[in-house]
């Protein structure tokens, strides 16, 4: 699980081009949106595509993303449970 969390942090940084953020700076429970990493709705779309492409998880309801992308911890738990890749 901790490997997956590190992988997710690296992917978030790379895909969302968070130039000034390092893996070590993202805590497992940090909020990804709002006051945390400050991600926005375009980032949410990028993350939805990432879930589909890298883990075979297709979100049928985009609103689900709100809950799933709360933090790296929540994302990792969801991926562990639903991944097909």
């Amino acid at each position: 699980m901790s490997e997956l969390k590190e992988e997710l942090k690296a992917k978030i940084i790379e895909q969302l081009n968070l130039e000034d953020v390092s893996v070590a700076e993202i805590a497992d429970d940090d909020a990804l949106f709002g006051d945390g990493l400050g991600l926005d709705s375009i980032d949410a779309l990028e993350l939805i595509v990432m879930l589909d492409k890298d883990y075979g998880i297709r979100l049928s309801d985009p609103k689900e993303g709100r809950k799933i992308f709360e933090s790296v911890q929540v994302m990792a738990d969801y991926i562990e449970e639903h991944r097909t890749k």
């Binding site: 895909q15 081009n17 130039e19 779309l45 990028e46 595509v49 492409k53």
Partner: protein
Amino acid sequence: MKKVYINSIASISPQKTFDNTIFLDEITDYNDTVIFAVDPDYKQYIPPAAARRMAKGIKMGVVASKIAMEEAGIETVDAIITGTGMGCMIDSEKFVSAIIDNNEQYLTPTSFIQSTHNTVAGQVALGMECKAYNFTYVHSAISFESALLDAKMQLENDEAHHILVGGVEELGDHTTKVHRVVNHIKPKPVTISTVLNSKTKGAVFSEGANFFVVSNEKKESCYAELVAVETFNTLQKEKVSETIESFLTENNLKIEDIDVVVFGNNGDVDFDTYYNQLSEGNLSKTQQVFYKHLVGENNTVSAFGVWLGSKILKTQTIPEIVKINEIKIPEIRTVLCYNQYRGQNHSLVLLKK
């Protein structure tokens, strides 16, 4: 009709030109076929949250526009008009590559949003919260001149008071490869001192952003009066001299009235003849300068020629590095910029002190 003035300038190019307090004092030599822009400290101008979605062309355009706005001493403008021949190549390549690599699946929005030709003008407008006229011309090597002409007409007719005009190009890996395949890029590296006499086909490709605030009121920061802009998609080599003379006549000038002519020579043995016939012909007694040995070739690099002409008029100095010949001029009053790319898309820009 109102007169039009270039009240501020900004240039990000393969030379350190983003600092307006210097004028080609430090020259970076290259020995290459493709040269990249010298980066200013983008973080000083663009918040990290905005910068993370910007490819280099957008960053260059946004920062050049900020430098120009700052020098003009204004907060907003009545129009933002840009020119770009190739647009935002980096994001375009990223988006198209993703379509191919992922078999048209898993397409993400960011590179698509940022890939359009008008992204730079849009981002500049967002940055200054400017909801006025926003337009981008995509006309190959006369993209910048088309933007400049639009601005000039609006200002002359008093439809606007201050307009931000710019030209921007960025280098994309794949596009550069394609240009290499069709021999539009030089086959062997050249330095700034050898490019003009390289006797090879093609040019040294480059990127950059040049922005100007043009107004119908003269500010203290003024560089030059923008007297005339004319573009020609096609023009026979034999007709260039005659066309320049008619252009000058229309502006009540003769060849002898031109103090400095800014040529767009890029060292392409097939097309520099357009300039050579002028430098050896009716402009032989005029001070000639060139700049593409310093900043390379791209679709809006002629904006650098306007930058150079403006700077020469304001400072009344001509850096040795841009001189083709040596003519003594007591006072530089009139500058003519002439550019063409591969024998097409010719432009004439006339500037006065």
